[in-house]
Symmetry: C2
Amino acid sequence: MKQKINLKLLGVIFSVLMTFYGQAQPPRGPYVVSPKVNPDKSVTFSYLAPNATNVLLDGGQFGAANVPMTKNAEGVWSVTFGPIKPDIYPYGFKVDGITVNDPANTYLFPNERFKGSLVEIPGDTPAVYALKNVPHGTISYELYPGIEGSTGTFVIYTPPGYTKNTKTKYPVYYLISGTTDTEETFWKVGKVNLMLDNMIAEGKAKPMIVVMPYGNPMARIAEQTGKEKPSDVMSRDGDDALKRMKLFENDLVKHVIPFVEKNYRTIPNRDNRAIGGFSRGGGQTLRTAFNNVDKFAYVCSYASYISPAEMDKNFTNITADPAKTNKDFKLLWSGIGTEDFLYKGTTEWENYLKEKKINVKTFAIPGGHTWMNVKQYLNETLPVLFK
Amino acid sequence: MKQKINLKLLGVIFSVLMTFYGQAQPPRGPYVVSPKVNPDKSVTFSYLAPNATNVLLDGGQFGAANVPMTKNAEGVWSVTFGPIKPDIYPYGFKVDGITVNDPANTYLFPNERFKGSLVEIPGDTPAVYALKNVPHGTISYELYPGIEGSTGTFVIYTPPGYTKNTKTKYPVYYLISGTTDTEETFWKVGKVNLMLDNMIAEGKAKPMIVVMPYGNPMARIAEQTGKEKPSDVMSRDGDDALKRMKLFENDLVKHVIPFVEKNYRTIPNRDNRAIGGFSRGGGQTLRTAFNNVDKFAYVCSYASYISPAEMDKNFTNITADPAKTNKDFKLLWSGIGTEDFLYKGTTEWENYLKEKKINVKTFAIPGGHTWMNVKQYLNETLPVLFK
């Protein structure tokens, strides 16, 4: 039976409920459904703003930067854009010049700074990151005794069957998100959990645990001590950046890893530890791996690098004996988009390694510094870890 | 060593990074820290909007509805408000009439409709929901085979030591959030995990599992089948509302509970199952409990009720034999705020039960239909479950 829904009535009821939720300035008026993915892969975006004079769709990552929307009689602005290439994208609206996310959409991009909404356009065949009818792993949030007396936070994926196969021990991938991302971003945007569910079901990836640490423990310390919260944004070079990288590294190596290995069934040796990350997380990955060669055998840099100058200054341990390094690292992987603003630096670093006779597996694809690309890097690397 | 941070430079770097994150219209200009909780419990809120003509703080739940903010030379609007009574509150900004959350604040209120930011004002002594140095439980996200072939989602809290005490079985509290809330709201806003960590550490509550289902499985089905997403808002009465309540009940009883009892170490009998919820979740709680007396011995309604007319029509199984009902339910608990818009209906229902000689433990406190009040209801009920 098809249910008839009186959208206008729902809107009124909604307004009443929202008032009592005490939410400041609740949307009033008709009930808005947004985004609506259409069968032809176009998407209809809608936003209620009866009094606005100009509303734009703000979806630069799918080619919809500043697309004008039109208002209907009820004050709902909308536009249908596309077809859009199947993927998961952030978007928002510009309402009289003010950037907002989509209040009708539950799914947000977890980030310290921007609060974009997320839209997924499914393909004709399910993507590698699609929710499929396969056994699912579990995502958990842990609090652990972190650096400088803080309580740290990380997210952890345990593979399907983890709870049942109570004798099985698993390798662990430590996977670090980018500047201003949070410990939630790799699963809520990167979909690493669904990708592994699918890959494990098809026998394409080894069952593994994935630990997603929070990349900026200085901010966590400040939150908990009432100190001024430091910037979660930093330059990628310079002493301050390196100091923070070191703090992260110490937290990971001295706090996160011991906690994980104490509380989860892991195989606690370097051949069964991988480390990877995106953007700042890629920088943290490389420095942590190069400073702790005894700890990680698999290293994946997603859109990041270390400058040749810093390599020469700090990481001669890696370059001095390439045969040893090539034996130590079962995988040293570097992926980058050709439109990524870090493309030049990344290729310079890759070439530097090659000149030094260090084996590095490189992967360049179209695209920018985006999480659409990150999913492609995951798709390349997850199947080759621990093999 | 105190670090000097060049906020202006950081802002510029941030803008560059954000551009490459592809985020539409990133904030540009100085690096904003917001909210900043001051030692006197006032809070300084800041928002970057050089071109706005009017920015208001939108924090009605702490008495700051439409408080004007002032702009500095760099285009940052700010206001210091308070002292504010220690608690966790939602807030946002009204920028030239457009409601936005705080882009500088990581913490958002998980909700299908509004996207408020959250600020916590700590008290002089740590609140019962404060992060303390005690053993912590784990929050996990599960995907389960849900109703009508959908993949359902719930969040689950396992108590400290769950992983280690591999023989121990636990009672389970099924805890349902309100209209437009999500399965995340009871932990990210209600802090039920930290409350239980603290109460268990002090011996005040029994170690228990808490399962937080998603309250609107119809929407989940629609999402996954590509059907028009139905409203997540509904009237609390009427056939449509009751049909959805029934769908939820079936999903909980036939899918969630069996999945939990198969995959977690529970004590699978009615004396070790509790059910509770807030607002719509309270309505779902009462109907599910009254339709499944064999399943739950503890029932907690947080700001909700069933009308006497519906009780008379559908729940004579509860009222016909009060002695049996009073024996069946080890706890039937109803909490409400005296300013809650459901106060009148709730007290009418409580009085109806009392006239029918049904034991109901009632709890009325100041406050509205808010999550500040929900934490107080949790504080009252968690210690008395399973005892």
